[in-house]
Protein backbone atom coordinates (compact mmCIF):
# COMPACT_ATOMS: atom_id res chain seq x y z
CA UNK A 1 0.00 0.00 0.00
CA UNK A 2 1.43 3.34 -0.93
CA UNK A 3 0.51 6.55 0.75
CA UNK A 4 0.24 10.07 -0.45
CA UNK A 5 3.27 12.21 0.37
CA UNK A 6 1.13 14.25 2.70
CA UNK A 7 0.30 11.23 4.88
CA UNK A 8 3.99 10.42 5.18
CA UNK A 9 4.79 14.03 6.04
CA UNK A 10 2.20 14.13 8.84
CA UNK A 11 3.21 10.69 10.02
CA UNK A 12 6.92 11.58 10.12
CA UNK A 13 6.34 14.96 11.76
CA UNK A 14 2.97 14.84 13.42
CA UNK A 15 1.73 18.31 14.39
CA UNK A 16 -0.12 18.91 17.66
CA UNK A 17 0.70 15.72 19.51
CA UNK A 18 -0.10 16.34 23.15
CA UNK A 19 -2.35 16.45 26.14
CA UNK A 20 -4.50 19.26 27.52
CA UNK A 21 -5.90 19.41 31.05
CA UNK A 22 -9.08 17.43 30.65
CA UNK A 23 -10.49 18.84 33.90
CA UNK A 24 -10.36 22.44 32.63
CA UNK A 25 -13.69 24.09 31.82
CA UNK A 26 -12.21 25.38 28.59
CA UNK A 27 -11.06 21.99 27.37
CA UNK A 28 -13.20 19.50 25.50
CA UNK A 29 -11.99 15.90 25.16
CA UNK A 30 -13.14 13.28 22.66
CA UNK A 31 -11.85 9.76 23.28
CA UNK A 32 -13.09 7.15 20.82
CA UNK A 33 -12.18 3.54 20.27
CA UNK A 34 -13.26 0.70 18.02
CA UNK A 35 -14.03 -2.73 19.50
CA UNK A 36 -10.96 -4.58 20.83
CA UNK A 37 -9.11 -1.23 21.08
CA UNK A 38 -7.30 -1.75 17.79
CA UNK A 39 -7.81 1.95 17.06
CA UNK A 40 -8.05 4.62 19.72
CA UNK A 41 -8.27 8.33 18.94
CA UNK A 42 -8.19 11.21 21.38
CA UNK A 43 -8.78 14.77 20.26
CA UNK A 44 -8.75 17.70 22.69
CA UNK A 45 -9.73 21.28 22.03
CA UNK A 46 -9.17 24.40 24.12
CA UNK A 47 -11.90 26.96 23.56
CA UNK A 48 -12.00 30.66 24.28
CA UNK A 49 -15.32 31.13 26.11
CA UNK A 50 -16.15 34.55 24.64
CA UNK A 51 -16.97 33.47 21.08
CA UNK A 52 -16.37 29.74 21.48
CA UNK A 53 -13.33 29.86 19.22
CA UNK A 54 -10.93 26.91 19.34
CA UNK A 55 -7.58 28.36 20.40
CA UNK A 56 -5.67 25.08 20.70
CA UNK A 57 -6.15 21.49 19.60
CA UNK A 58 -4.11 18.38 20.14
CA UNK A 59 -4.34 14.62 19.71
CA UNK A 60 -3.01 11.19 20.47
CA UNK A 61 -3.78 8.23 18.23
CA UNK A 62 -3.22 4.50 18.46
CA UNK A 63 -3.71 3.12 14.97
CA UNK A 64 -2.15 2.87 11.56
CA UNK A 65 -0.01 5.58 9.98
CA UNK A 66 -2.93 7.03 8.05
CA UNK A 67 -4.97 7.37 11.25
CA UNK A 68 -2.10 9.24 12.91
CA UNK A 69 -1.64 11.58 9.94
CA UNK A 70 -5.37 12.16 9.58
CA UNK A 71 -5.86 13.03 13.24
CA UNK A 72 -2.91 15.39 13.14
CA UNK A 73 -4.12 17.28 10.09
CA UNK A 74 -7.60 17.52 11.62
CA UNK A 75 -6.24 19.23 14.74
CA UNK A 76 -4.55 21.81 12.52
CA UNK A 77 -7.84 22.46 10.78
CA UNK A 78 -9.67 22.84 14.10
CA UNK A 79 -7.56 25.75 15.34
CA UNK A 80 -9.24 29.11 14.85
CA UNK A 81 -12.65 27.61 14.08
CA UNK A 82 -15.67 28.29 16.25
CA UNK A 83 -17.15 25.16 17.76
CA UNK A 84 -20.13 25.56 15.40
CA UNK A 85 -17.82 25.61 12.38
CA UNK A 86 -15.83 22.68 13.74
CA UNK A 87 -19.00 20.65 14.17
CA UNK A 88 -19.50 20.83 10.39
CA UNK A 89 -16.45 18.58 9.83
CA UNK A 90 -17.20 15.84 7.34
CA UNK A 91 -14.92 12.82 7.41
CA UNK A 92 -14.83 12.73 3.63
CA UNK A 93 -13.00 16.08 3.67
CA UNK A 94 -10.16 14.36 5.51
CA UNK A 95 -10.20 11.49 3.02
CA UNK A 96 -9.91 14.00 0.22
CA UNK A 97 -7.21 16.20 1.65
CA UNK A 98 -4.97 13.20 2.38
CA UNK A 99 -5.99 11.25 -0.70
CA UNK A 100 -6.69 8.18 1.45
CA UNK A 101 -7.56 4.84 -0.12
CA UNK A 102 -11.05 3.41 0.56
CA UNK A 103 -9.65 0.95 3.13
CA UNK A 104 -8.72 3.92 5.34
CA UNK A 105 -12.06 5.70 5.36
CA UNK A 106 -13.04 4.04 8.63
CA UNK A 107 -10.26 5.94 10.49
CA UNK A 108 -11.68 9.27 9.35
CA UNK A 109 -15.17 8.37 10.58
CA UNK A 110 -13.62 7.80 14.01
CA UNK A 111 -11.87 11.16 13.81
CA UNK A 112 -15.10 12.94 12.97
CA UNK A 113 -16.71 11.22 15.96
CA UNK A 114 -13.81 12.26 18.21
CA UNK A 115 -14.10 15.92 17.11
CA UNK A 116 -17.83 15.94 17.80
CA UNK A 117 -17.32 14.22 21.14
CA UNK A 118 -14.72 16.87 22.11
CA UNK A 119 -17.11 19.67 21.18
CA UNK A 120 -19.92 18.04 23.16
CA UNK A 121 -17.67 17.61 26.17
CA UNK A 122 -16.90 21.34 26.09
CA UNK A 123 -20.56 22.20 25.59
CA UNK A 124 -21.57 19.95 28.45
CA UNK A 125 -19.02 21.53 30.80
CA UNK A 126 -20.33 24.96 29.90
CA UNK A 127 -24.00 24.19 30.28
CA UNK A 128 -24.80 24.06 26.58
CA UNK A 129 -27.03 21.52 24.84
CA UNK A 130 -25.20 18.70 23.05
CA UNK A 131 -24.69 18.99 19.29
CA UNK A 132 -26.98 16.19 18.29
CA UNK A 133 -29.65 16.92 15.81
CA UNK A 134 -31.10 13.47 15.49
CA UNK A 135 -32.73 13.82 12.08
CA UNK A 136 -29.55 15.17 10.52
CA UNK A 137 -27.45 12.50 12.17
CA UNK A 138 -29.66 9.79 10.83
CA UNK A 139 -29.54 11.25 7.38
CA UNK A 140 -25.76 11.26 7.53
CA UNK A 141 -25.69 7.70 8.76
CA UNK A 142 -27.77 6.60 5.83
CA UNK A 143 -25.47 8.48 3.48
CA UNK A 144 -22.41 6.83 5.01
CA UNK A 145 -23.91 3.40 4.69
CA UNK A 146 -24.71 4.17 1.10
CA UNK A 147 -21.15 5.30 0.46
CA UNK A 148 -19.69 2.24 2.10
CA UNK A 149 -21.95 0.08 0.02
CA UNK A 150 -20.84 1.90 -3.10
CA UNK A 151 -17.20 1.12 -2.28
CA UNK A 152 -18.11 -2.44 -1.66
CA UNK A 153 -19.64 -2.73 -5.05
Amino acid sequence: MSYAERVLDYYDNPRNVGTLDKTSERVGTGLIHVPEYIEVIRIQIEVSPARHVITDACFKTFGCGAAIAATSITTEWLKGKTIEEAAQLDHMDIVEVLNLPPAKIHCTILIEDAVKAAINDYRHKNGMEPLKEEAEEEEEEAERDYELEEEHN
Partner: protein, 405 residues
Protein backbone atom coordinates in the same frame (compact mmCIF):
# COMPACT_ATOMS: atom_id res chain seq x y z
CA UNK B 1 29.31 0.14 4.91
CA UNK B 2 25.68 -0.39 5.78
CA UNK B 3 23.58 -0.70 2.65
CA UNK B 4 19.93 0.29 2.87
CA UNK B 5 17.24 -0.97 2.66
CA UNK B 6 17.79 -3.95 4.95
CA UNK B 7 15.85 -7.15 4.33
CA UNK B 8 14.57 -8.92 7.45
CA UNK B 9 11.60 -10.72 5.95
CA UNK B 10 13.29 -14.00 5.07
CA UNK B 11 10.24 -16.03 6.14
CA UNK B 12 8.38 -14.49 3.21
CA UNK B 13 11.10 -15.23 0.70
CA UNK B 14 14.87 -15.31 0.46
CA UNK B 15 17.19 -13.83 -2.14
CA UNK B 16 18.70 -16.28 -4.60
CA UNK B 17 22.20 -17.22 -3.56
CA UNK B 18 24.60 -16.06 -6.34
CA UNK B 19 26.02 -19.60 -6.48
CA UNK B 20 22.50 -20.85 -7.20
CA UNK B 21 22.02 -18.32 -10.00
CA UNK B 22 25.37 -19.32 -11.48
CA UNK B 23 24.37 -22.99 -11.45
CA UNK B 24 21.05 -22.43 -13.22
CA UNK B 25 22.14 -19.97 -15.92
CA UNK B 26 23.43 -22.54 -18.48
CA UNK B 27 20.05 -24.23 -18.45
CA UNK B 28 18.24 -21.32 -20.08
CA UNK B 29 19.93 -21.11 -23.49
CA UNK B 30 22.73 -23.65 -23.64
CA UNK B 31 21.38 -26.83 -22.05
CA UNK B 32 17.81 -25.93 -22.78
CA UNK B 33 16.44 -29.36 -23.71
CA UNK B 34 13.21 -30.91 -22.53
CA UNK B 35 14.07 -33.46 -19.86
CA UNK B 36 11.46 -35.77 -21.39
CA UNK B 37 13.11 -35.80 -24.83
CA UNK B 38 14.57 -39.27 -24.74
CA UNK B 39 16.03 -39.39 -28.23
CA UNK B 40 18.61 -36.64 -28.47
CA UNK B 41 21.48 -35.20 -26.53
CA UNK B 42 19.67 -31.97 -25.59
CA UNK B 43 17.08 -34.02 -23.73
CA UNK B 44 19.69 -36.30 -22.17
CA UNK B 45 21.66 -33.34 -20.83
CA UNK B 46 18.54 -31.82 -19.29
CA UNK B 47 17.54 -35.13 -17.78
CA UNK B 48 20.99 -35.62 -16.28
CA UNK B 49 20.78 -32.17 -14.69
CA UNK B 50 17.34 -32.93 -13.25
CA UNK B 51 18.57 -36.27 -11.91
CA UNK B 52 21.43 -34.58 -10.07
CA UNK B 53 19.09 -31.94 -8.66
CA UNK B 54 16.66 -34.65 -7.55
CA UNK B 55 19.50 -36.26 -5.59
CA UNK B 56 20.47 -32.94 -4.01
CA UNK B 57 16.90 -32.12 -3.00
CA UNK B 58 16.29 -35.63 -1.64
CA UNK B 59 19.54 -35.59 0.33
CA UNK B 60 18.54 -32.45 2.22
CA UNK B 61 15.58 -34.25 3.80
CA UNK B 62 17.00 -37.78 3.95
CA UNK B 63 14.78 -39.07 1.14
CA UNK B 64 15.35 -41.26 -1.87
CA UNK B 65 15.57 -39.27 -5.15
CA UNK B 66 12.67 -41.31 -6.55
CA UNK B 67 10.46 -39.90 -3.80
CA UNK B 68 10.78 -36.30 -5.00
CA UNK B 69 7.98 -34.88 -7.19
CA UNK B 70 8.89 -31.47 -8.58
CA UNK B 71 6.12 -28.86 -8.52
CA UNK B 72 5.77 -25.11 -9.02
CA UNK B 73 6.18 -24.48 -5.32
CA UNK B 74 4.97 -25.42 -1.85
CA UNK B 75 1.40 -24.26 -2.46
CA UNK B 76 1.03 -26.66 -5.35
CA UNK B 77 2.72 -29.42 -3.36
CA UNK B 78 0.36 -28.86 -0.41
CA UNK B 79 -2.63 -28.98 -2.74
CA UNK B 80 -1.36 -32.10 -4.49
CA UNK B 81 -0.75 -33.87 -1.19
CA UNK B 82 -4.10 -33.03 0.41
CA UNK B 83 -6.35 -33.36 -2.63
CA UNK B 84 -4.33 -36.26 -4.01
CA UNK B 85 -4.52 -38.25 -0.78
CA UNK B 86 -8.21 -37.44 -0.33
CA UNK B 87 -8.93 -38.82 -3.80
CA UNK B 88 -6.55 -41.79 -3.67
CA UNK B 89 -7.66 -42.98 -0.23
CA UNK B 90 -11.39 -42.30 -0.63
CA UNK B 91 -12.13 -45.97 0.04
CA UNK B 92 -10.44 -45.80 3.41
CA UNK B 93 -12.03 -42.63 4.71
CA UNK B 94 -12.62 -38.90 4.36
CA UNK B 95 -11.25 -37.44 7.59
CA UNK B 96 -8.17 -35.19 7.75
CA UNK B 97 -6.66 -33.67 10.90
CA UNK B 98 -4.71 -30.42 10.76
CA UNK B 99 -4.14 -27.37 12.97
CA UNK B 100 -5.76 -23.97 12.83
CA UNK B 101 -2.44 -22.17 12.36
CA UNK B 102 -1.34 -23.95 9.18
CA UNK B 103 -0.38 -22.01 6.08
CA UNK B 104 -3.31 -20.91 3.92
CA UNK B 105 -2.23 -23.38 1.22
CA UNK B 106 -3.17 -26.17 3.63
CA UNK B 107 -6.18 -24.52 5.27
CA UNK B 108 -7.80 -23.42 2.04
CA UNK B 109 -7.15 -26.77 0.35
CA UNK B 110 -8.88 -28.37 3.36
CA UNK B 111 -11.81 -25.98 3.03
CA UNK B 112 -12.07 -26.95 -0.62
CA UNK B 113 -12.11 -30.64 0.34
CA UNK B 114 -14.87 -30.00 2.87
CA UNK B 115 -17.07 -28.94 -0.02
CA UNK B 116 -16.29 -32.29 -1.64
CA UNK B 117 -17.39 -34.21 1.45
CA UNK B 118 -14.23 -34.28 3.57
CA UNK B 119 -14.40 -34.03 7.35
CA UNK B 120 -11.63 -31.80 8.64
CA UNK B 121 -10.56 -31.40 12.26
CA UNK B 122 -8.70 -28.15 12.90
CA UNK B 123 -6.77 -28.61 16.14
CA UNK B 124 -6.38 -25.59 18.39
CA UNK B 125 -2.91 -24.64 19.58
CA UNK B 126 -1.77 -23.46 23.01
CA UNK B 127 -0.22 -20.06 23.75
CA UNK B 128 3.15 -21.39 22.58
CA UNK B 129 1.66 -22.31 19.20
CA UNK B 130 1.73 -26.07 19.75
CA UNK B 131 -1.16 -28.55 19.38
CA UNK B 132 -2.13 -30.90 22.19
CA UNK B 133 -1.00 -34.41 21.23
CA UNK B 134 -3.68 -36.08 23.35
CA UNK B 135 -6.31 -34.05 21.54
CA UNK B 136 -4.74 -35.06 18.25
CA UNK B 137 -4.87 -38.75 19.12
CA UNK B 138 -8.43 -38.44 20.38
CA UNK B 139 -9.46 -36.86 17.08
CA UNK B 140 -8.39 -39.90 15.05
CA UNK B 141 -11.31 -42.06 13.88
CA UNK B 142 -11.64 -45.12 11.64
CA UNK B 143 -12.24 -42.64 8.79
CA UNK B 144 -9.02 -40.67 9.32
CA UNK B 145 -6.67 -40.83 6.33
CA UNK B 146 -4.20 -38.01 6.96
CA UNK B 147 -2.65 -35.85 9.64
CA UNK B 148 -1.20 -32.61 8.25
CA UNK B 149 0.93 -30.50 10.60
CA UNK B 150 3.50 -27.96 9.45
CA UNK B 151 7.09 -28.48 10.56
CA UNK B 152 7.65 -24.86 11.54
CA UNK B 153 5.18 -22.01 11.52
CA UNK B 154 5.79 -19.19 9.05
CA UNK B 155 4.70 -16.38 11.36
CA UNK B 156 6.13 -17.35 14.72
CA UNK B 157 8.80 -19.88 13.70
CA UNK B 158 7.64 -22.42 16.29
CA UNK B 159 8.72 -25.99 15.48
CA UNK B 160 6.15 -28.74 16.01
CA UNK B 161 7.04 -32.10 17.62
CA UNK B 162 6.73 -33.84 14.23
CA UNK B 163 8.34 -37.08 15.40
CA UNK B 164 5.80 -37.46 18.20
CA UNK B 165 2.90 -36.47 15.97
CA UNK B 166 3.89 -38.92 13.23
CA UNK B 167 4.27 -41.71 15.81
CA UNK B 168 0.64 -41.18 16.81
CA UNK B 169 -0.46 -41.16 13.17
CA UNK B 170 1.55 -44.31 12.44
CA UNK B 171 0.11 -46.09 15.48
CA UNK B 172 -3.35 -45.64 13.98
CA UNK B 173 -2.33 -46.38 10.40
CA UNK B 174 -2.83 -42.77 9.31
CA UNK B 175 -0.55 -40.97 6.83
CA UNK B 176 1.57 -38.06 8.05
CA UNK B 177 2.01 -34.96 5.94
CA UNK B 178 4.03 -31.89 6.79
CA UNK B 179 4.54 -28.53 5.11
CA UNK B 180 8.28 -28.18 5.69
CA UNK B 181 8.72 -24.90 3.76
CA UNK B 182 10.03 -22.88 6.69
CA UNK B 183 12.15 -25.66 8.18
CA UNK B 184 13.85 -27.32 5.22
CA UNK B 185 17.39 -26.07 4.85
CA UNK B 186 17.20 -24.17 8.16
CA UNK B 187 16.99 -27.01 10.66
CA UNK B 188 17.69 -30.71 10.06
CA UNK B 189 14.62 -32.37 8.55
CA UNK B 190 14.77 -36.13 8.01
CA UNK B 191 11.66 -37.78 6.63
CA UNK B 192 12.63 -41.16 8.10
CA UNK B 193 13.65 -39.97 11.55
CA UNK B 194 10.63 -37.65 11.65
CA UNK B 195 8.21 -40.24 10.25
CA UNK B 196 6.91 -38.04 7.45
CA UNK B 197 5.04 -39.63 4.52
CA UNK B 198 4.41 -36.47 2.48
CA UNK B 199 6.31 -33.19 2.68
CA UNK B 200 5.82 -29.96 0.75
CA UNK B 201 8.48 -27.29 0.30
CA UNK B 202 9.77 -24.67 -2.10
CA UNK B 203 13.07 -23.36 -3.39
CA UNK B 204 12.53 -19.68 -2.75
CA UNK B 205 12.49 -20.10 1.03
CA UNK B 206 15.98 -21.60 0.95
CA UNK B 207 17.88 -19.21 -1.33
CA UNK B 208 16.62 -20.68 -4.59
CA UNK B 209 14.33 -19.10 -7.18
CA UNK B 210 10.56 -18.69 -7.01
CA UNK B 211 8.34 -20.97 -9.06
CA UNK B 212 9.83 -24.33 -8.12
CA UNK B 213 9.20 -26.67 -5.23
CA UNK B 214 8.66 -30.30 -4.42
CA UNK B 215 6.41 -32.82 -2.81
CA UNK B 216 8.12 -35.69 -1.07
CA UNK B 217 6.00 -38.86 -1.42
CA UNK B 218 7.15 -41.91 0.56
CA UNK B 219 7.73 -45.05 -1.54
CA UNK B 220 8.40 -47.65 1.15
CA UNK B 221 6.62 -48.60 4.37
CA UNK B 222 4.13 -47.41 3.55
CA UNK B 223 4.08 -46.88 -0.20
CA UNK B 224 2.12 -43.67 -0.59
CA UNK B 225 0.32 -42.57 -3.73
CA UNK B 226 -1.50 -39.39 -4.59
CA UNK B 227 -3.97 -38.87 -7.42
CA UNK B 228 -2.61 -36.37 -9.94
CA UNK B 229 -4.37 -33.02 -9.86
CA UNK B 230 -3.24 -32.02 -13.34
CA UNK B 231 -3.63 -34.15 -16.42
CA UNK B 232 -1.02 -34.32 -19.13
CA UNK B 233 2.11 -36.14 -20.12
CA UNK B 234 2.36 -38.18 -16.93
CA UNK B 235 5.62 -36.63 -15.71
CA UNK B 236 6.95 -37.21 -12.21
CA UNK B 237 5.78 -40.80 -11.93
CA UNK B 238 2.37 -39.77 -13.15
CA UNK B 239 1.71 -37.55 -10.14
CA UNK B 240 2.49 -34.17 -11.68
CA UNK B 241 2.28 -33.60 -15.40
CA UNK B 242 3.97 -30.68 -17.08
CA UNK B 243 7.35 -30.12 -18.74
CA UNK B 244 9.96 -29.89 -16.02
CA UNK B 245 11.29 -26.44 -15.14
CA UNK B 246 14.89 -27.50 -15.70
CA UNK B 247 16.69 -24.25 -14.74
CA UNK B 248 14.47 -23.92 -11.66
CA UNK B 249 15.01 -27.53 -10.65
CA UNK B 250 18.78 -27.25 -11.12
CA UNK B 251 18.73 -24.15 -8.94
CA UNK B 252 16.56 -25.85 -6.32
CA UNK B 253 19.07 -28.73 -6.23
CA UNK B 254 22.04 -26.39 -5.83
CA UNK B 255 20.22 -24.40 -3.14
CA UNK B 256 19.49 -27.60 -1.18
CA UNK B 257 23.11 -28.71 -1.48
CA UNK B 258 24.34 -25.37 -0.13
CA UNK B 259 21.86 -25.49 2.75
CA UNK B 260 22.97 -28.96 3.68
CA UNK B 261 26.62 -27.89 3.70
CA UNK B 262 26.13 -24.62 5.55
CA UNK B 263 23.10 -25.22 7.77
CA UNK B 264 24.96 -25.99 10.95
CA UNK B 265 27.23 -22.94 10.92
CA UNK B 266 24.52 -20.68 9.52
CA UNK B 267 21.91 -21.59 12.11
CA UNK B 268 24.37 -20.92 14.94
CA UNK B 269 25.32 -17.55 13.53
CA UNK B 270 21.70 -16.53 12.93
CA UNK B 271 20.51 -17.73 16.33
CA UNK B 272 23.13 -15.50 17.97
CA UNK B 273 22.05 -12.50 15.89
CA UNK B 274 18.37 -13.25 16.48
CA UNK B 275 18.96 -13.47 20.24
CA UNK B 276 20.85 -10.19 20.19
CA UNK B 277 17.97 -8.51 18.35
CA UNK B 278 15.32 -10.05 20.56
CA UNK B 279 17.07 -9.30 23.85
CA UNK B 280 17.65 -5.70 22.85
CA UNK B 281 14.02 -5.16 21.81
CA UNK B 282 12.70 -6.84 24.95
CA UNK B 283 14.38 -4.06 26.90
CA UNK B 284 11.41 -1.96 25.83
CA UNK B 285 8.52 -2.10 28.31
CA UNK B 286 5.38 -4.09 27.43
CA UNK B 287 7.12 -6.06 24.69
CA UNK B 288 6.50 -9.78 24.25
CA UNK B 289 7.76 -12.68 22.17
CA UNK B 290 4.91 -14.57 20.50
CA UNK B 291 5.07 -18.35 20.59
CA UNK B 292 7.44 -20.84 22.14
CA UNK B 293 10.97 -19.59 22.69
CA UNK B 294 12.40 -23.07 23.09
CA UNK B 295 11.15 -24.93 20.03
CA UNK B 296 11.64 -22.58 17.15
CA UNK B 297 13.60 -21.69 14.06
CA UNK B 298 17.01 -20.16 14.76
CA UNK B 299 16.53 -17.18 12.45
CA UNK B 300 13.04 -16.02 13.38
CA UNK B 301 11.23 -14.11 16.09
CA UNK B 302 7.82 -12.50 16.37
CA UNK B 303 7.44 -9.64 18.82
CA UNK B 304 4.45 -7.59 19.96
CA UNK B 305 5.01 -4.00 21.04
CA UNK B 306 1.93 -3.20 23.09
CA UNK B 307 0.20 0.17 22.52
CA UNK B 308 1.81 0.58 19.10
CA UNK B 309 0.06 -0.51 15.92
CA UNK B 310 2.14 -2.76 13.66
CA UNK B 311 1.41 -1.06 10.39
CA UNK B 312 2.16 2.37 11.85
CA UNK B 313 5.40 0.93 13.20
CA UNK B 314 6.45 -0.35 9.81
CA UNK B 315 5.59 2.96 8.20
CA UNK B 316 8.25 4.48 10.42
CA UNK B 317 11.04 2.53 8.81
CA UNK B 318 9.78 0.66 5.79
CA UNK B 319 11.93 2.75 3.49
CA UNK B 320 14.99 1.29 5.19
CA UNK B 321 13.86 -1.90 6.89
CA UNK B 322 11.74 -4.66 5.35
CA UNK B 323 9.68 -6.53 7.93
CA UNK B 324 6.18 -7.87 8.15
CA UNK B 325 3.39 -7.37 10.65
CA UNK B 326 0.48 -9.37 12.03
CA UNK B 327 -1.57 -6.24 11.67
CA UNK B 328 -3.89 -6.16 8.70
CA UNK B 329 -5.07 -2.59 8.87
CA UNK B 330 -5.49 -2.49 5.13
CA UNK B 331 -9.07 -3.61 4.69
CA UNK B 332 -12.40 -2.13 5.69
CA UNK B 333 -12.77 -4.69 8.48
CA UNK B 334 -9.21 -5.27 9.62
CA UNK B 335 -8.60 -8.85 10.71
CA UNK B 336 -5.28 -9.41 12.41
CA UNK B 337 -3.17 -12.55 11.94
CA UNK B 338 -5.16 -15.75 12.49
CA UNK B 339 -1.97 -17.44 13.68
CA UNK B 340 -1.48 -14.97 16.53
CA UNK B 341 -5.17 -15.09 17.37
CA UNK B 342 -4.84 -18.88 17.41
CA UNK B 343 -2.21 -18.46 20.13
CA UNK B 344 -4.81 -16.61 22.15
CA UNK B 345 -3.49 -13.09 21.62
CA UNK B 346 -6.02 -10.27 21.87
CA UNK B 347 -6.62 -8.20 18.77
CA UNK B 348 -4.59 -5.34 20.21
CA UNK B 349 -1.44 -7.43 20.67
CA UNK B 350 -1.90 -9.21 17.36
CA UNK B 351 -2.09 -5.82 15.65
CA UNK B 352 1.06 -4.76 17.50
CA UNK B 353 3.23 -7.59 16.23
CA UNK B 354 6.25 -7.58 13.96
CA UNK B 355 7.88 -10.64 12.42
CA UNK B 356 11.65 -10.61 12.05
CA UNK B 357 13.15 -13.14 9.65
CA UNK B 358 16.93 -13.17 9.46
CA UNK B 359 18.75 -14.87 6.61
CA UNK B 360 22.02 -16.02 5.10
CA UNK B 361 23.02 -12.50 4.11
CA UNK B 362 22.01 -10.72 7.33
CA UNK B 363 24.94 -9.01 9.03
CA UNK B 364 25.48 -7.91 12.62
CA UNK B 365 25.65 -4.31 11.43
CA UNK B 366 22.16 -4.70 9.98
CA UNK B 367 20.87 -6.12 13.25
CA UNK B 368 22.36 -3.18 15.15
CA UNK B 369 20.62 -0.83 12.76
CA UNK B 370 17.32 -2.70 13.16
CA UNK B 371 17.56 -2.58 16.96
CA UNK B 372 18.16 1.17 16.92
CA UNK B 373 15.50 1.97 14.33
CA UNK B 374 12.75 -0.20 15.78
CA UNK B 375 13.43 1.06 19.31
CA UNK B 376 13.30 4.69 18.21
CA UNK B 377 10.11 4.18 16.24
CA UNK B 378 8.36 2.31 19.05
CA UNK B 379 9.26 5.09 21.47
CA UNK B 380 8.13 7.77 19.04
CA UNK B 381 4.77 6.09 18.41
CA UNK B 382 4.18 5.49 22.08
CA UNK B 383 4.52 9.23 22.61
CA UNK B 384 1.62 9.57 20.16
CA UNK B 385 -0.39 6.68 21.64
CA UNK B 386 -3.25 7.57 24.02
CA UNK B 387 -3.15 4.00 25.34
CA UNK B 388 0.49 4.36 26.31
CA UNK B 389 -0.30 7.59 28.16
CA UNK B 390 -3.13 5.86 30.04
CA UNK B 391 -0.86 2.93 30.84
CA UNK B 392 1.85 5.24 32.19
CA UNK B 393 -0.72 7.02 34.33
CA UNK B 394 -1.72 3.63 35.70
CA UNK B 395 -5.24 3.87 34.32
CA UNK B 396 -7.32 0.72 34.35
CA UNK B 397 -8.46 0.05 30.79
CA UNK B 398 -11.81 -1.18 32.09
CA UNK B 399 -12.69 2.03 33.89
CA UNK B 400 -11.60 4.54 31.24
CA UNK B 401 -14.29 7.04 30.44
CA UNK B 402 -14.89 6.79 26.72
CA UNK B 403 -16.84 9.47 24.91
CA UNK B 404 -20.42 8.63 24.25
CA UNK B 405 -21.89 9.77 20.99
Amino acid sequence: MLKLPIYLDNNATTPCDPRVVEAMLPYFSETFGNASSRNHSFGWAAEAAVDLAREQVAALIGADPKEIIFTSGATEADNLALKGVFEMYADKGNHIITTEIEHKAVLDACKHLEKLGAEITYLKVNNEGLPDLKELEAAITAKTILVSVMYANNEIGVINPIKEISAIAKKHGVLMMSDISQAAGKVPVDVNRDGIDLAAFSAHKLYGPKGVGALYVRRKSPRVKVTAQMDGGGHERGMRSGTLNVPGIVAFGKACELCQQEMEAESKRLAALRDKLENALLQLEQTFVNGSKTNRLPHATNISFRYVEGEALMMGFNKNLALSSGSACTSASPEPSYVLKGLGLGDDLAHSSIRFGLGRFTTEEEIDYAIQTVTETVNKLREISPLWEMFKEGADMNTIEWSRL
